[in-house]
Symmetry: C2
Subunit: 472 residues, 2 copies
C-alpha cells in the first residue's frame, strides 16, 4: 500500500462510512482481475460510494493524495478497462452501491439511472411502464449503466437503435478536479460549448467518473419474429439486409453465422439443432420487431423472405414457429464463442469496417490469415449490418497447447494491420482498456494520439482517473 | 496588418495559388461582419483553400506565424461565430471553395460533402438518388455543411431526425497542429478512444477546421401533410404532440405559434391569411411525412386531429388542401421574426428547457418578464417538441428608439437567469460565438468553464483557431 493510499483509505472511511470502504482481501479478490481472467491486478481496498457527493469527495481526496482510481461497474468488460494495475498502487472505485433508478418518465420516454444500476434491472423498470430500453447484450444480468456508457457498449440491437451513444440523453459525472458535471436535464437541444457528455461516453473512466445517466426509452415490443436464412456468400447476406431494410423498418437484429461456426455449435452445445434442413456456406439470423400490436411482423417477414428466395438472394429460410424456437435460433448465435473454445484455442478480434466493405473483407481477410499462418482457421461472425464482426482465428491444425500465448500477438498484429488498411477499427465495440492499448498506439495516426493525450492531460493533469487505459 | 499576417499571406500565396488569397478590400468587406450586422470585424485577407491539404498547410503556417484563423462558411450564423475581431489581427479562412460532394452512396445512405457545400446543393444531390438529407433551415441557400456541423445546427425537422450531431456519420478536420483527423470512413461502431468527431461537432471552429463531413441520408419523402390547429394553452399543444406521437411515427414538424405572433404576421406580411376561421390563444403547425407511397399521411393526420378534437385536446384544426396551402401555413411560421421586426424593436432568445417543462415555462417566463419590464410583450414560439423556443421580447409600449441598446442586455440577463434556473440552455441551437460568450461565462458552472478552457488549450495551445469564440 502506498502512503497516499493509506491516507486516502483513512479519510475515505470518514467520508463514506463503514460500508463504503472494503479492505478484506477476500472481498476484494473477485474484482481485481477481469472476468475472463486475462489480466490480474491488485488493490488494497475498494471504495464504494453511495452518492454523487461521495464520489466527488473521493475524487478530491484522490487528487490530494495522488492516488489513481479505477472505476468499476459489473466488471464484465472485454478489454480489462476496469482492472487495476498489478502493483497495488491504484484503488478500485466500485459504483455498484449507486444502484437507484432515480426516475422514469413514461411520457417523456426517459429514465435516469445511477451508474451501478444493472442493465437487466433497467430493462425490467422500463417494461413496467410499458416501455423498453433497447440495448442488450450477454452480460445484461451483471453489467451496469455506468460501464455501458463509459465503454459506449453495442450489443445485438445496434442496427436499429445504435450504441449507447445514441441512447444516452445526458450524463452526470464527477470530473477529475472533483467538480460535478450535471448533464441530466436531457435538453434535446443545447449548444453551449463542447459536449462533455459525448466526451465522457466511451472514455472508459479516464476523464471522470460517470455517476448517473439519462437514457432514452422506446415503445415496448408488441411482437417479434425470428428467422434463419441460408445464403451463398456474405455479400448475399448484406444484399438480403438491404432488401429487407428497403421494405420494412422492423428489422432489428441481423447476425451473420458461417457454416463452420454452426457446425461447431451443433457439435459442442447440447440440445442445438440446425434450423434448416439443407446446408449453406453462410447463415443469417434475422429478428424483426414491432411496437404496433396490429402489425403481423411474422407474416411480413415470411413474405419478404419468400420474395428474396424467388429473387435468388437467399437459398432457403425458415421462420421460428414460436418463442421457444426463436430462442433456439438465438442460442446458436450466442454460443458460437463457447463452442469454439470447446473445440480448441481461439483468438478473438472485435473489428469493424465500413458496412458495404464487410462482405469482401470477411472473405479476403480469412484467406490472408490462413495463408500467413498455415493450419489456422479464420472466420467472421456477428453484426454484419453494423459493419462489425467478431473475427476469430482458431488453432485448428496446431497441437501446441501454448499456441495462444506463442502465436496470438503475431496473428493479432496481422489482423489489425488488415483492418487498418481497410479503414476499419481494431475495436468496434469492446473498447481499448488495457488489452488493446499497445495495438491502438501502434496503429493510430500520431495526430490522433497527440490529441487524445492532450485531452487526457488537460482534464486529468494529476493522472488519477484510470491511468494506463485507453490513451496510448 | 500584423507582421505575422503579412508573412502568412505571403507564404499562403505560394501554398494556395492566386485564387486562394483575397486581399482586395471590396471582396473582403461582405464577409467581415455577421449577416445580421450586429458585429463588425476586419481582416486584411481571406484565405480560401481548395483542398484539405491546403487547409493543413495554412494551419501549419498560422501556427508558425502565430496568426489566428477564423473559419467561415456561408456566414449565416446567429452568434457571430465566424466574424473576425475588429482589430484586424485575425485572418478569415473561407471554406467556400471546398464545395465538392465527394461521394453519394445510395445503398449505404451516406454522402460525403466538403465543408463549403451549400445545404441546398446537398438536398438536391440526395434527391437525385432518391434520398433526402432531412435537416433544413431558413438559410439553406447559403449556409454550408462545415458551418452546420461546427454549430451543431438544428432547424425545423429536429423532432424526427435530430440536430446535425445525429446526422453526422464522420468528420474530416485539420487539427490546430496541422494534422488531419480522418473520420470519414463512417464506421458504425468504433470504440478507439475519445470521439474527436463528437468534440468537433458544435465546436465552432475553435478546435480545428472541419474540411469534410460524412452525412446520413434518409428515404425521400413520398408524401406530406400539413395541418394547423388551435389550442387553449402550450400544455394542450404538448398534449397534442404526445397524442400524435403515440399513434404515428410520421410527425416531423411541430411548431408552436402564439396568437399575437399570428396577428403580427397577418398585419405585416402581405398575402397571409389566418388558417382557421376562429380565434385561439395558441396555434400549432403540424407537418407529417411518409417515405412510403402507400401511406395516406393526410388521411391519417386528419383522422387523428378529429379524435383530438373530440377529446378536447384541440379547439379546431384544418388540413392544408394542397401544397400551396401547406406552403402558406409554413410561411406564417417562417415570417414571425420578420413581422415582429416590422412592428418594432425585438429582442430574441434561442432557449431550451426539458420538453415537459416548456409549456409552463413559456407562460411563466413571459409573465415574469412583463412584470419586471413594464411595457414589453414577451412570447415564445417554435420547436415545442424539442423543448426549444425562440423567446422574444418586444419593445411594444416603449417609444425609445434605442430601447434595444439601452434595455436589451438587462432583459437578456433576466431571461437567461430564468432559463438557467429551469435547468435549460441559453443557446439551444444558435451556439455561443461572440454574442453569447459573456452570458455563457456568467452562468456556466465553474467546473464546466474550466473543462472547456482546458480542452481548448490542450488542442490549440497557440490559440490560432477562432479565438474569442465559444470558450468563456
Amino acid at each position: 500500500m502506498t502512503e497516499g493510499e493509506s491516507k486516502l483509505i483513512e479519510t475515505a472511511r470518514e467520508a463514506l462510512g463503514p460500508h463504503g470502504v472494503i479492505t478484506d482481501a477476500a472481498d476484494i479478490e473477485p474484482w481485481v482481475s477481469d472476468w475472463r481472467g486475462r489480466v490480474h491486478g491488485a488493490s488494497p481496498a475498494i471504495l464504494a460510494p453511495s452518492s454523487t457527493d461521495e464520489v466527488a469527495a473521493i475524487v478530491k481526496l484522490a487528487g490530494k493524495h495522488r492516488v489513481p482510481l479505477v472505476p468499476q461497474g459489473g466488471n464484465t468488460g472485454m478489454a480489462a478497462g476496469a482492472t487495476p494495475s498489478a502493483d497495488g498502487s491504484q484503488l478500485l472505485l466500485s459504483m455498484r452501491r449507486m444502484n437507484r433508478i432515480r426516475s422514469i418518465n413514461a411520457e417523456g420516454r426517459l429514465a435516469v439511472a445511477e451508474a451501478g444500476v444493472v442493465l437487466e434491472t433497467l430493462h425490467e423498470a422500463a417494461h413496467e411502464v410499458g416501455l423498453r430500453f433497447p440495448l442488450t447484450l450477454g452480460s445484461r444480468g451483471s453489467c451496469t449503466i455506468g460501464g455501458l456508457t463509459s465503454t459506449n457498449a453495442g450489443g445485438t440491437q445496434v442496427l436499429k437503435f445504435g450504441t449507447m451513444r445514441s441512447l444516452v440523453a445526458g450524463v452526470e459525472a464527477v470530473l477529475p478536479d472533483g467538480s460535478v458535471h450535471s448533464g441530466l436535464t436531457s435538453l434535446k437541444k443545447d449548444n453551449r460549448g463542447y459536449s462533455l457528455d459525448q466526451l465522457l461516453i466511451g472514455a472508459e473512466g479516464t476523464l471522470g467518473v460517470i455517476t448517473a445517466v439519462a437514457l432514452k426509452l422506446v415503445p415496448a415490443v408488441a411482437a417479434r419474429a425470428v428467422a434463419w436464412a441460408g445464403v451463398e456468400t456474405p455479400a448475399r447476406a448484406l444484399e438480403l439486409l438491404r432488401f429487407l431494410e428497403a421494405r420494412t423498418s422492423s428489422i432489428e437484429g441481423f447476425e451473420l453465422v458461417p457454416e463452420d461456426s454452426l457446425q461447431l455449435v451443433l457439435k459442442h452445445v447440447p440440445g442445438t439443432r440446425a434450423p434448416l434442413n439443407d446446408q449453406h456456406n453462410w447463415q443469417v439470423l434475422i429478428e424483426a420487431t414491432t411496437a404496433d400490436a396490429n402489425t403481423d411482423v411474422g407474416a411480413e417477414l415470411e413474405q419478404l423472405l419468400g420474395t428474396a428466395l424467388q429473387q435468388g438472394i437467399i437459398g432457403n429460410a425458415v421462420l421460428a414457429a414460436n418463442e421457444a424456437q426463436a430462442d433456439a435460433f438465438w442460442k446458436i448465435r450466442d454460443t458460437i464463442s463457447e463452442a469454439e473454445r470447446a473445440e480448441g484455442q481461439t483468438l478473438a478480434h472485435d473489428i469493424s469496417v465500413p458496412v458495404g466493405d464487410m462482405p469482401d473483407f470477411i472473405i479476403e481477410a480469412a484467406k490472408k490469415v490462413e495463408q500467413a499462418f498455415p493450419g489456422v482457421i479464420a472466420s467472421g461472425f456477428g453484426h454484419l449490418g453494423d459493419g462489425n464482426i467478431h473475427f476469430h482465428v482458431r488453432a485448428a491444425g496446431h497441437s501446441n497447447p501454448n499456441w495462444y500465448e506463442d502465436e496470438g500477438a503475431k496473428i493479432t498484429r496481422f489482423v489489425d494491420n488488415l483492418v487498418t488498411q481497410a479503414g476499419g477499427s481494431i475495436s468496434a465495440e469492446h473498447g481499448i482498456g488495457q488489452l488493446k492499448l499497445e495495438e491502438f498506439g501502434r496503429l493510430a495516426p500520431p495526430g490522433r494520439v497527440n490529441a487524445l493525450r492532450a485531452i487526457k492531460h488537460a482534464l486529468d493533469p494529476l493522472g488519477i482517473m484510470n491511468p494506463g487505459k485507453l490513451v496510448p
